[in-house]
């Protein structure tokens, strides 16, 4: 199952000309506000009719302006989760959840009851079923919207900034559900976001949109570790993603995690030993040393080798490192890079403080 999209659309003062392919799994459509993300999401759902282009999910052509084809939104079976949950205020949570079910032809069948039970379990909605949407918190509402979209048996799920309206706490509450959804539901997902931390936790494929054009597209881990992609992602948000496995939780509140190049100690991670994690380490939080430091407060020291040094516009450089096969990015000053004589092939140590990795940056994979 994959999405193929190539569309052009013109608004007064803005033109969109985007093409990309989203393979199975979670594809993040990342870009600043105003870059055209929602326009693309609306075009996929059929809520907006682009001037020209073609959109297909696997073998089903949803739009082909050259062939004069435009499937109506209600026949597309695109599960759309909006930024504001858009629950129907006059229906209970249960009826909201089952709304689309009726149209996908599964009214009150046994299969529907099973699916409802499965989705309410997956999203933790059991206690909410008889409530009215007006009585729900923002995070609960968004979970109901997600369940409602899933129960309509979509070919594909489009989520437009589903977390943007939530505060950090609610975000942290809902992200594990999204991770479970990614791992358990066999539905391809297009995740629209301007938040790199969310994207890094959830996505397998990354499509970067800037001013209506796709500037970068490919596997998420590769792009996040690519210094050349940094300007498009935002220099402050730049950071690579490591994959690891929980070894144990220590009594002092730290969790020990094994990555390719060694072990990391991070603030307590809510995952059982053996669980696989993805950990995003911001480039500006990584310190480099030529010799293995001793008597240092930072807990995480990984041996690495410089693979490239990319100067930026200001006083900084972006150093890409190889740590036993994992890629790391470190943002340091040009002056430091020169003082340490960092160049491709040079061995060094990458240092990260445990507390610099926020809970938001650690997800299950």
């Amino acid at each position: 199952m994959s999405l193929d999209l190539a569309i052009t659309h013109r608004f007064p003062g803005f033109s969109l000309e985007a093409a990309f392919t989203a393979p199975n799994g979670v594809t993040a459509l990342f870009g600043r506000s105003g870059s055209g993300k929602t326009t693309i999401a609306n075009a996929i759902a059929g809520l907006l009719r682009p001037d020209a282009g073609r959109i297909a999910v696997e073998d089903t052509v949803l739009l082909d302006t050259a062939a004069g084809q435009h499937i109506a939104p209600h026949r597309r079976r695109i599960g759309y989760v909006f930024q504001e949950a858009r629950l129907f205020p006059h229906l209970s949570v249960r009826r909201n959840l089952l709304y689309g079910r009726w149209f996908s032809g599964g009214g009150g069948s046994a299969g529907t009851r099973d699916d409802l039970a499965r989705i309410t379990d997956l999203l933790g909605l059991n206690a909410l079923l008889d409530r009215a949407p007006g009585a729900l918190s923002g995070g609960e509402r968004q979970r109901v919207a997600l369940g409602r979209a899933l129960l309509a048996r979509p070919r594909m799920l489009v989520m437009d900034e589903p977390l943007a309206a939530l505060d950090e706490e609610r975000k942290a509450e809902i992200l594990p559900y999204l991770e479970r959804l990614r791992d358990e539901a066999a539905v391809p997902i297009l995740f629209v976001s301007h938040n790199l931390a969310e994207v890094a936790r959830l996505a397998t494929t990354l499509v970067v949109l800037d001013a209506g054009r796709v500037t970068t597209a490919g596997p998420l881990i590769d792009i996040l570790a690519d210094p050349d992609a940094v300007p498009a992602l935002g220099i402050r948000d730049a950071g690579s993603v490591l994959t690891g496995r929980v070894i144990t939780h220590h009594a002092d509140g730290l969790s020990e995690i094994e990555v390719a190049a060694g072990r990391l100690l991070l603030p307590h991670v809510a995952a059982v030993p053996g669980a696989h994690l993805r950990i995003r380490i911001a480039a500006q939080d990584v310190i480099l040393a030529r010799e293995e430091p001793t008597a240092l407060s930072a807990l995480n020291i990984l041996p690495a080798r410089v693979t490239s040094v990319r100067p930026g516009n200001g006083p900084g450089v972006m150093v890409r490192l190889d740590a036993a096969g994992d890629s790391l990015l470190a943002r340091i000053t040009k002056r430091s890079a020169e003082r340490l004589a960092l160049a491709p092939g040079v061995s060094c140590y990458a240092i990260a403080k445990a507390v610099s990795v926020a809970p938001m940056d650690i997800g299950q994979s």
């Binding site: 109506a72 858009r86 129907f88 009826r95 009726w102 996908s104 009215a132 007006g134 979209a149």
Partner: protein, 235 residues
């Protein structure tokens, strides 16, 4: 309390019949017109808007006269209706219902239109992405959400129909037992020496009906609003 004179009972029953007929028959057209004005962009939208509101602004006697021209037995529409369906409007209670419907229509459309404009089109979009066609979106999302507006408009229109005087008396005159409604009966009674008492009785009755309609509309719309926006889930 002494029994009401039969001419008063006739006027009251006729008023109820005329107003109920006018309100119920104009409701579908009212919803359609309100939806078109609130949601559709089409050439002639302003003209439709003007036509709907015209009876509110024109002197009622003008509306009544225009109705007589169009729907009288020799009028273009009235002649057609009589020849094809045997339906006579002029000087009949059916004509009184038509006049009441036309006069109440702006109030009906206005209330419904306001409630449609208050429905977030984003909810309708969401329903579409969940598989609902336009008709189903209207039936399952828009209609339940505008129900308070429809009820308010209906009751307002009913009250207006009960009180209609100018267009009615011009179009269908003031025939006891056929077209004499409460307002025209009051007018007629006031012309007759010694029947001021009967007129006062009708005045009290029309006040009572109007109050009952208002209280009913309040109670109903409060219940509906609580069901839609409230914290309690519908049963």
């Amino acid at each position: 309390m002494e029994a009401l004179p039969p001419d008063l009972i006739d006027a009251i029953l006729l008023s109820l019949k005329v107003s109920l007929t006018a309100t119920i028959l104009s409701l579908p057209a009212g919803v359609l017109a309100a939806y078109a004005l609130a949601r559709w962009r089409f050439p002639g939208r302003q003209i439709l808007n003007g036509l709907v509101h015209l009876p509110l602004i024109l002197p009622p006697v003008v509306t009544g006269y225009l109705l007589l021209l169009a729907f009288g037995t020799r009028g273009p529409i009235g002649g057609f209706l009589e020849a094809q369906f045997g339906l006579t409007l002029a000087f009949r209670w059916t004509g009184a219902a038509l006049a009441a419907a036309i006069m109440a229509f702006p109030l009906l459309v206005r209330a419904i239109r306001l409630s449609i404009e208050a429905v977030d089109p984003k909810l309708e979009e969401a329903a579409a992405t969940l598989g609902a066609s336009r008709v189903w979106v209207f039936a399952t999302v828009t209609l339940p959400l505008i129900l308070p507006g429809i009820l308010a408009g209906t009751i307002l229109a009913f009250a207006k129909a009960m009180g209609e005087f100018g267009a009615t008396i011009t179009f269908v005159s003031n025939i006891p037992g056929e077209t004499q409604t409460i307002p025209t009966a009051i007018y007629a009674l006031l012309q007759v020496p010694g029947r001021e008492g009967a007129a006062s009785t009708l005045v009290l009755i029309s006040i009572a009906i109007a109050m009952a309609a208002l209280l009913l509309s309040e109670a109903v719309s409060r219940r509906v609003a609580a069901r839609i926006g409230g914290r309690e889930a519908p049963a």
